[in-house]
C-alpha cells in the first residue's frame, strides 16, 4: 500500500473549538488514504508500509548486485538430500485460507539425550483436507551421528498431534528429558518424553487441554524462579473451520488488486495464555493475574523469554502481526507490565506497527545485552532493535544495514548465528510470501523467495552477503521455520529450514576459516533442568560474548539448546561465567577450545568432549 498526500489545493479547513487539535494536516493525510484506497482498490495487508529512507536504496542495489565469494566466510551448502530426510510439508496451491499459510515451525530436540540434535518438523493439512478428515503427518528424525537421520515418528508417537503450527522444547516435569510442545490450530499438544524413544500426549493430564485457540508461538521459562519451567502460549486469529472467511471477499482479502486469503486484518484476534507450573507436571492458567492475557486480542505469533534489562528477572517478548509487540517486564514474582512502547520495541522508528513475525535474539554487539531482530512483511523491512540497557531499545534497522537488504521479502524464521565461528553472530533470515497469487501480479514480488544472510561487521553494522555465501540460500522457496544448531557435533552451525511448500532445506557451512569454537550444554539442578534462560558469558582475549539457553524463538521454532560460541583464532577460552536462572554464578576458567562441555549447576564441567569426526559426515 502506498502512502500519499492529498493535493493541498483541494483544501481542508482547520476545525476550531474542541476539535482544534484535529488539524487540517491530520485530516489531509486521512483523506489522502481514503482517496487512494478509492482510486487503487488497495486494501489492508499485514503491517504498515515502511519506505526505505535515504542512502539505503543505493546501497541495497549495490549489495543485491554483488557476486562472487566472501573472503574468509564459508559457503552455505544444501545437504538435505544427503541427510536421508524425506519430509514434505503439505500445502494448498491457492492457500485460500490464512491457516494454510502460517504453519512450518521446526524444532531441534535431543530427545534421546545422546548429545546429538534430532529434528522435529511440524505439518499441517489444507482446509479441504481437514474437511475430508485427512490429517497431516509431522515427523521426528533421529540423528544417526553420521550425517544422516532416520524417521522415528511412528515409534516416538508424535506424528499426528494436530493441525500443527510450530514446536518448542521444555522439560515440563523436570525429569531431565526434553519434552515437546506442539502449537496447533486449536490449542496445543504436550508430549512427555518417556526417556525410551517414545512420547506420551499429556496435554490433558498437564492441564493444557483448555487451551483451544489458534496457538502459534510458545516458550518455556521459569519466570518465578521456583525451578520449574512455566509456559507462555501466544494465539493468533479466532479461526474456525465451520465458519471460514470467504477468499477474496471484503477489503481485507485483496492484495495488489488480487483476490487473496482473508486476514489477519478483518478477523478477530485471539488472547494469549501464561501457564504456571505447579511443580508436579501440571499447569495453572495465570494469564489474567500475571498481566499477559492480551485483552486486546492482538494477533500473537512468536514468543521468547529473556532478561532484557539484566535485572535477574525474566521478561517476555511477543510479536504481534500488524500490531504493537508486547515486551512484558517481569517482577520475578509473577506480575508483568507491558513496556514495549516506552522501550521502543512496539513499533518502528516512526511509530508504525508492523507485521511482526519471527524473533532473533542475541548479543550481536558484545554489549552484554540481548538485542532483537523481528522479521516482517514485504512492504516493510526486518527491524533490529538494539538493546541500550535499562529497557531501552533503539531501532537500528537502517543504520545497521539490515533494513536495506530485507525490504521486499516476507520474512519468517530468523536467528543470530555464527556460521564462520569468528566470534561475531551474523543474522540469517528465511523468507516466502503469503499469497501464491502474487505471481500473477505485475510486480517483482514472487511467492517463492530466497534466504538472506547478513555478516556481522563487528561495528554494529551488517553486510548483506546473501549472494556471496553459495547458491543454496539463493534458491527461492516458501520458507517458514528456522532452527540453528550444531547438527553433526563438529563445531559448525547448521540451519534447518522448514518450508511451507515441499521439502525442508538443511544448510551446512563449508570452507572458510578454521576458526575455534566451544559449546556448552547446561544442566540445572536447583534451576529448571534444561537451564532455560541460563546464560554464559564467554571471554577469549578481547572477545566477550553472551549466550543464552532459549526455548522457542525464530518463527514458531526451536534452536539447539546448547550455547555455541565461535572464537576466531583464540585457542583457549579464558573464562566462561555461567549465570544460572536462580541468580548464582559459576566461573569456569582456562578451557580448551573446540570442545563440547556439559556444565551442571553447582558442579562445574561434568563432561568435556572433542568432536566425533566421522568420514561420513556431509
Amino acid at each position: 500500500m502506498q502512502t500519499s498526500r492529498i493535493n493541498p489545493r483541494i483544501g481542508v479547513r482547520r476545525i476550531a473549538g474542541a476539535s482544534k487539535m484535529l488539524t487540517a494536516a491530520f485530516l489531509r493525510s486521512c483523506i489522502a488514504v481514503f482517496i487512494l484506497c478509492m482510486s487503487t482498490g488497495a486494501t489492508a495487508q499485514m503491517g504498515t508500509p515502511t519506505p526505505l529512507p535515504p542512502a539505503e536504496r543505493k546501497k541495497a542495489e549495490a549489495e543485491s548486485k554483488a557476486t562472487g565469494a566472501l573472503a574468509n566466510y564459508p559457503h552455505l551448502v544444501d545437504i538435505t538430500d544427503s541427510t536421508g530426510i524425506h519430509f514434505e510439508h503439505l500445502s494448498s496451491p491457492a492457500a485460500k485460507f490464512i491457516a494454510e499459510s502460517m504453519s512450518g515451525g521446526v524444532a531441534l530436540i535431543d530427545y534421546d539425550r545422546d548429545g546429538w540434535p534430532d529434528i522435529y518438523f511440524t505439518n499441517a493439512q489444507s482446509v479441504e483436507m481437514a474437511l475430508h478428515g485427512v490429517k497431516a503427518r509431522s515427523a521426528l528424525f533421529h540423528n544417526n551421528h553420521d550425517g544422516t537421520f532416520t524417521d522415528v515418528t511412528e515409534k516416538a508417537g508424535v506424528g499426528y498431534p494436530c493441525w500443527a503450527m510450530g514446536a518448542v522444547v521444555g522439560d515440563y516435569n523436570n525429569d531431565g528429558w526434553p519434552d515437546l510442545l506442539v502449537t496447533c490450530l486449536g490449542g496445543v499438544v504436550l508430549y512427555r518424553n518417556n526417556g525410551d524413544g517414545t512420547f506420551t500426549d499429556v496435554t490433558k493430564a498437564s492441564g493444557l487441554a483448555g487451551d483451544s485457540g489458534w496457538a502459534t508461538g510458545a516458550a518455556f521459562g521459569d519466570y518465578d524462579g521456583d525451578g520449574w519451567a512455566d509456559l507462555f502460549i501466544s494465539h493468533y486469529v479466532d479461526f474456525h473451520l465451520d465458519n471460514l472467511p470467504v477468499f477474496g471477499s471484503g477489503k481485507s482479502c485483496k492484495y495488489l488488486g488480487l483476490d487473496v486469503q482473508c486476514g489477519p486484518r478483518g478477523l478477530k484476534g485471539s488472547p494469549d495464555n501464561l501457564y504456571h507450573s505447579n511443580g508436579d507436571g501440571t499447569f495453572t492458567d495465570v494469564s489474567k493475574q500475571s498481566g499477559v492475557d492480551d485483552p486486546e486480542r492482538r494477533y500473537g505469533l512468536t514468543a521468547i523469554w529473556s532478561d532484557f534489562d539484566n535485572d535477574g528477572k525474566l521478561d517476555l517478548f511477543v510479536t504481534n502481526d500488524g500490531q504493537a509487540n508486547y515486551l512484558y517486564q517481569g517482577d520475578g514474582a509473577g506480575k508483568f507490565v507491558d513496556v514495549a512502547l516506552t522501550s521502543g520495541v512496539a513499533a518502528n522508528e516512526d511509530g508504525f506497527e508492523q507485521a511482526n513475525m519471527g524473533v532473533a535474539l542475541g548479543d550481536y554487539l558484545h554489549t552484554g545485552r540481548m538485542s532483537l531482530v523481528l522479521s516482517h512483511f514485504d512492504n516493510e523491512y526486518a527491524a533490529l532493535y538494539r538493546n541500550e540497557g535499562g529497557m531501552n531499545f533503539t531501532d537500528a534497522s537502517i543504520v545497521s544495514g539490515i533494513a536495506r537488504g530485507t525490504q521486499g521479502y516476507v520474512g519468517w524464521g530468523d536467528a543470530f548465528v555464527d556460521f564462520a565461528n569468528d566470534g561475531w553472530e551474523d543474522f540469517f533470515l528465511v523468507n516466502g510470501h503469503v499469497y501464491p497469487q502474487v505471481d500473477s501480479a505485475h510486480t517483482a514480488t514472487r511467492y517463492l523467495e530466497p534466504k538472506l544472510l547478513f555478516v556481522n561487521q563487528q561495528d554494529g553494522t551488517f553486510r548483506n552477503a546473501s549472494n556471496l555465501a553459495g547458491e543454496a540460500i539463493q534458491i527461492r522457496q516458501v520458507s517458514r521455520g528456522l532452527a540453528v544448531g550444531d547438527l553433526f557435533n563438529d563445531g559448525k552451525m547448521e540451519a534447518v529450514i522448514e518450508n511451507l511448500v515441499g521439502k525442508p532445506m538443511i544448510l551446512r557451512p563449508e570452507g572458510g576459516p578454521q576458526n575455534h569454537w566451544v559449546s556448552f550444554q547446561l544442566e540445572g539442578v536447583k534451576s529448571n533442568r534444561l537451564a532455560l534462560n541460563a546464560r554464559v558469558r564467554a571471554t577469549a582475549g578481547d572477545l566477550v560474548q553472551l549466550g543464552e539457553v532459549l526455548s522457542g524463538g525464530s518463527y514458531l521454532s526451536q534452536h539447539d539448546l546448547r550455547i555455541h560460541f565461535g572464537l576466531g583464532r583464540h585457542e583457549r577460552l579464558d573464562q566462561a561465567e555461567v549465570l544460572w536462572p536462580d541468580g548464582k554464578k559459576e566461573m569456569l576458567t582456562n578451557l580448551p577450545t573446540d570442545r563440547f562441555y556439559v556444565v551442571r549447576e553447582g558442579q562445574g564441567v561434568v563432561s568435556s568432549k572433542l568432536p566425533e569426526h566421522s568420514g561420513k559426515l556431509p
Binding site: 502506498q2 500519499s4 498526500r5 492529498i6 493535493n7 493541498p8 489545493r9 483541494i10 476545525i15 473549538g17 474542541a18 476539535s19 487539535m21 484535529l22 488539524t23 494536516a25 491530520f26 493525510s29 486521512c30 481514503f34 482517496i35 487512494l36 484506497c37 478509492m38 482510486s39 487503487t40 489492508a44 519506505p51 529512507p53 535515504p54 542512502a55 539505503e56 536504496r57 543505493k58 486469529v237 479466532d238 479461526f239 474456525h240 465458519n243 472467511p245 470467504v246 471477499s249 477489503k251 481485507s252 478483518g266 478477523l267 478477530k268 512502547l341 516506552t342 521502543g344 513499533a347 522508528e349 516512526d350 511509530g351 508504525f352 531501552n392 533503539t394 531501532d395 537502517i398 510486480t443
Partner: protein
C-alpha cells in the same frame, strides 16, 4: 434543510413567566389579569401547558400590550404545533417591547421567524431570523435557528449567505454533527454551483479541465484526473498549481516510469514558481528515497526556509538529520513540528524517542501519550473511511468473514 426543533418550550416560558407586573390595566381588570397569569403559572409549574393557553389568552384580551403574556402565549401555541396562531402574539410582544434589544426577545423573534417559516412566509421568516440570530446568547437555540436560516438561504440559492452563517455556527459549536453536515452540504453546493458557472462561462478553459480533474480525484478516478490535468496543461502550461497537482497524483503510482514523470512535473512546477515550497518538499522526499541524502537535506532546508510553518517539511528535515547522526539539530525541529501539527503521531513518537535517549523521562512519556492518542484517533478515522468505501453487499460479506 429544515432542522428539527430539539428544544422545549419550558426554557422560553420560564424566562418570561414570572412577569405579570407590566400590566397596563387598572383596578378590577388588573386583578382579573393577575389571576389569569397566576393560574397560567400554576399550570406551567404542573407541566400542563395546554391548560395555560386559555389563561394567557384571557390575560392578553385584558391587556393586549403586555409583552410577557403575548410572548408566553406565542411560545405555548408554537410548541403546541400552532405556528400560525403563535405569529400574532409574537408580533404583538415584539411591537410592545420598550427597547429595541430587550434581552430575551431575540429568542421570541427567532421563534417568530421559525413560525413564519412553517407557515411558508419565507420572506418574513428570513427577515426575523436574520435579526434574531446575531443577538442570541444561548448556543443550542442559536444553532437550531442558524440551521433553519441556512435552510432558507439554501432554498433560495443564496449559498454565500448560508456559508457565512455556517462559519458562525462552526465557531459556536464545532463538534455539532448537524452543523458539520450542513457545512459539508453548503460547501458542496457552492462547489457545484461554481462548477456549473465555469462550465457555462469557459467550458474549454484550462481551469475547467483542472476542475474536472479535482472531481475525478474526489471520485477515485485517478486515471481520469490525470487525463484532465494533461488537457489543462495542453491549454495553458502556465496554469497555477497544475503541474504540482498532476505530480501529486502521478507519484501515487507504483510504476517507476510514472514516478519519474511525477518528479518531472514537480520540476515543471518549480520552473513556473521557483518558490513553490510544496514541490521542493516533494523533491526532497524523492531524493531521500533515492539515497541522495545531501540533496534531500538541501531541499528540506530550503522548504523549511520558505515555509517555516510547514510541519511536514520540518519533520522531513528532522528525520534526515537523525539519519545524518545529528539528533541534536533534529530535536528543535521535532519540537516545532508538534507545535505546528499537534496531531502528527509520528512526530510525537520521534520526539519521545529522542527524549528517552536524552534521559528526559517525563518529556518522553508525555510525547508517547500524545502519540498513542493521535494514532488511535487516526486509526478510527481510517476505519471509518474504509467503511465508507465498502458497498452494502461487501459489508455483508465482511460481516460473514468474522468467525
Amino acid at each position: 434543510m429544515i432542522a428539527k426543533l430539539g428544544i422545549a418550550c419550558a426554557g422560553f416560558v420560564l424566562l418570561l413567566g414570572a412577569a405579570s407586573c407590566l400590566s397596563q390595566a387598572t383596578g378590577d381588570k388588573q386583578e382579573e389579569f393577575a389571576a389569569h397569569i397566576q393560574k397560567a403559572d400554576g399550570y406551567l409549574r404542573d407541566k400542563q401547558p395546554a391548560l395555560a393557553i386559555p389563561e394567557f389568552q384571557a390575560a392578553v384580551a385584558i391587556d393586549p400590550e403586555n409583552v410577557d403574556a403575548q410572548a408566553n402565549l406565542g411560545v405555548l401555541l408554537f410548541f403546541q404545533g400552532k405556528a400560525a396562531d403563535s405569529i400574532p402574539h409574537f408580533r404583538a410582544a415584539l411591537a410592545a417591547r420598550k427597547e429595541e434589544r430587550q434581552p430575551g426577545l431575540a429568542k421570541i423573534q427567532g421563534l417568530l421567524g421559525m413560525a413564519e417559516s412553517r407557515t411558508l412566509d419565507f420572506a418574513d421568516a428570513r427577515k426575523d431570523m436574520e435579526a434574531a440570530f446575531p443577538a442570541l446568547q444561548e448556543r443550542r437555540f442559536q444553532v437550531q435557528l442558524g440551521l433553519e436560516l441556512v435552510g432558507l438561504y439554501t432554498q433560495s440559492g443564496d449559498l454565500e449567505k448560508a456559508a457565512l452563517v455556517i462559519a458562525q455556527l462552526r465557531k459556536a459549536d464545532p463538534d455539532n454533527a448537524e452543523v458539520l453536515y450542513a457545512a459539508y452540504r453548503t460547501y458542496s453546493d457552492l462547489a457545484g454551483e461554481s462548477m456549473l458557472a465555469l462550465s457555462l462561462a469557459a467550458p474549454d478553459s484550462a481551469q475547467m479541465h483542472q476542475l474536472l480533474a479535482h472531481e475525478d480525484t474526489r471520485q477515485g478516478n485517478t486515471n481520469g484526473a490525470i487525463a484532465q490535468y494533461r488537457k489543462a496543461i495542453a491549454v495553458d502550461p502556465h496554469l497555477p498549481g497544475v503541474h504540482f497537482e498532476l505530480a501529486e497524483l502521478l507519484q501515487t503510482s507504483t510504476d517507476e516510469t510514472i514516478k519519474k514523470e511525477a518528479e518531472q512535473e514537480y520540476h515543471a512546477a518549480l520552473r513556473e514558481n521557483a518558490q513553490d515550497e510544496k514541490s521542493i518538499l516533494r523533491l526532497a522526499e524523492i531524493d531521500g528515497r533515492k539515497g541522495n541524502i545531501e540533496q534531500s537535506y538541501k531541499e528540506y532546508t530550503k522548504a523549511v526556509e520558505l515555509q517555516p510553518a510547514d510541519a511536514e517539511a520540518k519533520l522531513g528535515l528532522a528525520k534526515t538529520l537523525i539519519e545524518m547522526n545529528q539528533a541534536d539539530k533534529a530535536l528543535p525541529l521535532l519540537e516545532d513540528t508538534v507545535q505546528l501539527e499537534p496531531t502528527n503521531a509520528t512526530a510525537h513518537y520521534r520526539l519521545a524517542t529522542l527524549y528517552r535517549k536524552m534521559g528526559r523521562v517525563d518529556d518522553a512519556k508525555r510525547e508517547m501519550d500524545f502519540y498513542k492518542k493521535f494514532k488511535e484517533m487516526k486509526e478510527k478515522l481510517l476505519a471509518l473511511y474504509k467503511e465508507l468505501q465498502v458497498q452494502p453487499k461487501e459489508i455483508r460479506a465482511d460481516e460473514q468473514d468474522q468467525p
